[in-house]
């Protein structure tokens, strides 16, 4: 819409940041980055960084909200003031963040096995530390990792990615300039079954193109999941190794 001077794909088939169309941005997943939360993670995709902390399951802050047969989820989304750089435009109002929060809550409600934690609350705090496109997908990825590190029962990972379309060429994992220039959508899926839990699109697109993008997104989610799994297993292995340490003559009753 705005900066049409940007060349989305150059003659060599490379994007403005020298990526190929299906190439993801450099990604890092970190677990347990918050000292006191039950579970936390920091996910960086390109220049977008999101930190998520999970508190709970705990006694609901508002006891009237508690549900007798399952846990309730409460999601807070915040963007730090410097997230978009000094010259960057501000996040449009509170509504957009609330919408992201509602989307995250509804995405995870069927995936978290909430019936295991009746009368409790799982609080998910999402902080966007720097924003360069794809806040929602990065947040969803970070929430998945944080839930895993909190030991909360999940049916599967949920991974998410943004997909854009340039003429007839789909592009994966959009940066901010691409996001504002291209028709784009966000897909979140359960990688094992390939089912889609969230799909959001805000720009006009012909029906026939839509399916291709959807399938591409699901495929990319699987790739992300594999990368996440490596990090999770590596971290877990370290914790397990430490837990195996038996000190001297300690009398260990259980096990």
């Amino acid at each position: 819409m705005s900066s049409s001077r940007l060349e989305i794909l150059n003659d060599g088939g490379l994007r403005h940041d020298a990526r190929r169309p299906y190439e993801l941005r450099s990604t890092s997943f970190e677990l347990s980055t918050h000292p006191s939360a039950e579970g936390s993670s920091t996910v960086t995709q390109g220049l977008t960084t999101v930190q998520v902390s999970i508190f709970g399951p705990r006694e609901p802050r508002q006891r009237s909200n508690a549900s007798h047969d399952r846990a309730i989820l409460s999601v807070e989304v915040g963007v730090v003031p410097w997230a978009q750089g000094a010259g960057g435009k501000r996040v449009r109002g509170d509504k957009r963040l609330q919408e992201i929060g509602a989307s995250i809550r509804q995405t995870f409600e069927p995936v978290i096995m909430t019936h295991l934690y009746p009368r409790s609350e799982i609080a998910i705090d999402v902080q966007v530390l720097s924003a360069d496109g794809g806040i929602l997908p990065t947040s969803i990825n970070a929430v998945t990792l944080a839930l895993i590190s909190a030991g909360i029962s999940l049916l599967d990972y949920v991974t998410s990615i943004s997909i854009g379309l340039h003429l007839t060429q789909p592009l994966l994992d959009l940066s901010q300039p691409e996001e504002s220039d291209l028709p784009n959508m966000v897909v979140a899926s359960l990688p094992t079954s390939g089912k889609i839990t969230l799909a959001q699109m805000e720009t006009r697109l012909h029906v026939d193109r839509f399916e291709e993008m959807l399938n591409l997104g699901v495929e990319a989610c699987k790739v992300l999941k594999n990368e996440m799994e490596l990090v999770v297993k590596d971290k877990t292995r370290k914790i397990v190794d430490r837990m195996e340490i038996k000190s001297g003559a300690a009398m260990i009753v259980d096990e």
Partner: protein, 327 residues
């Protein structure tokens, strides 16, 4: 259909820790894993790690336990942790999770609300725990009957914010735990400081009350390891002042006043607390013996008072626990 390329790990990926080489191996292990009789009984370091959504076994012969769910004919993991097998029951033990109480557990909690005939206690669980007025000992002896005026004076015994040590007595229908303090060992806490560690680090031990004798402080240091991950480190009480001893002050159980603690006593408390923090930060399971060994090591090495410097921390971990954290 198409190719999705991620950035090659060597150049740009900055995973939390060093990753690839060793870890690709586990992947293969898991791929090759079959439900075999010996597989789950394998030695500790070879425990199989699974993450949510991972199929553990496709056999109908096994029962699903905690941390798993059944999808079609598969037992699937729902948490990240190690596979545990007891006969035909397969469960996954999460490496980190909220404290899961069991009857008989010793916990440390904080009063959050004084209600009718009961206190609500935050014991780091999924819901607040409940301490009934009928489950506490009141001053005046074990046999004392509770009368109506006791219900009115509840806040005098335990007010909001007070810490206490208690035992899990039972569970309510909704899963909330009911505590009791009907032993002179339990009750209000004072003369010390609270530490919070991940609950997994505290194993069930024969006794969760531990006394480190002098020279660690003039009167030693007492440690209570709550299974919910709360640890109470306080000034040591001498033998005769403990419950059942000659000098035990049964009237002072609900006192809010700290005893006079000498500066040396305070130093001892905080240095033991520092030790526990160092060990917990490294994810090392805490036991009474380990803490005592570490404390002895501190005394032998005549370390300066105050938090451990990095170098000493590494030495402590290497010499007492045998963990190398110098990387």
């Amino acid at each position: 259909m198409f190719v999705i390329k991620t950035v090659p790990p060597s150049s740009t990926q900055t995973f939390a820790d060093d990753m690839p080489a060793t870890h690709r191996k586990h992947q293969i292990e898991i791929d090759a894993m079959q439900v075999d009789e010996d597989e789950y009984g394998a030695g500790p370091s070879k425990r199989t790690i699974v993450t949510p959504g991972e199929i553990i076994t496709s056999s109908k012969e096994y029962m699903r336990g905690h941390g798993t769910y059944v999808e079609e004919v598969n037992v699937v993991s729902s948490v990240t942790g190690t596979i545990e097998r007891v006969n035909k029951l397969i469960s996954v033990k999460p490496v980190r999770s909220k404290y899961t109480p069991e009857v008989g557990d010793l916990v440390i909690g904080r009063i959050v609300e004084v209600g009718p005939q009961r206190w609500r206690v935050d014991a780091n669980g999924r819901q607040d725990a409940v301490l009934m007025l009928s489950s506490v000992n009141l001053p005046g002896g074990v046999q004392r009957r509770k009368i109506e005026s006791d219900a009115l004076k509840m806040r005098e015994f335990l007010a909001e914010g007070d810490l206490l040590v208690a035992e899990v007595q039972a569970f309510f229908g909704d899963g909330a735990m009911s505590l009791h303090t009907r032993s002179l060992k339990y009750g209000k806490l004072r003369n010390g400081q609270l530490l919070t560690v991940p609950p997994q680090l505290i194993r069930r031990l024969k006794s969760h009350f531990h006394h480190i004798p002098p020279p660690c402080g003039p009167s030693g240091v007492d440690i209570i390891l709550g299974l919910n991950g709360f640890i109470w480190v306080s000034s040591g009480t001498s033998q005769e002042k403990r419950e059942g001893g000659e000098g035990f002050d049964s009237e002072g159980v609900y006192s809010d006043k700290n005893d006079d603690i000498t500066p040396e006593g305070r130093q001892a408390i905080s240095s033991v607390a520092n030790l526990i923090k160092v060990l917990a930060d490294q994810g090392i399971p805490l036991t009474d013996t380990l803490i005592e060994e570490a404390s002895n090591w501190m005394n032998q090495n005549q370390l300066p008072i105050g938090p451990l410097v990095k170098n000493d921390e590494q030495r402590l971990l290497a010499e007492v626990v045998g963990v190398d954290v110098t990387e």
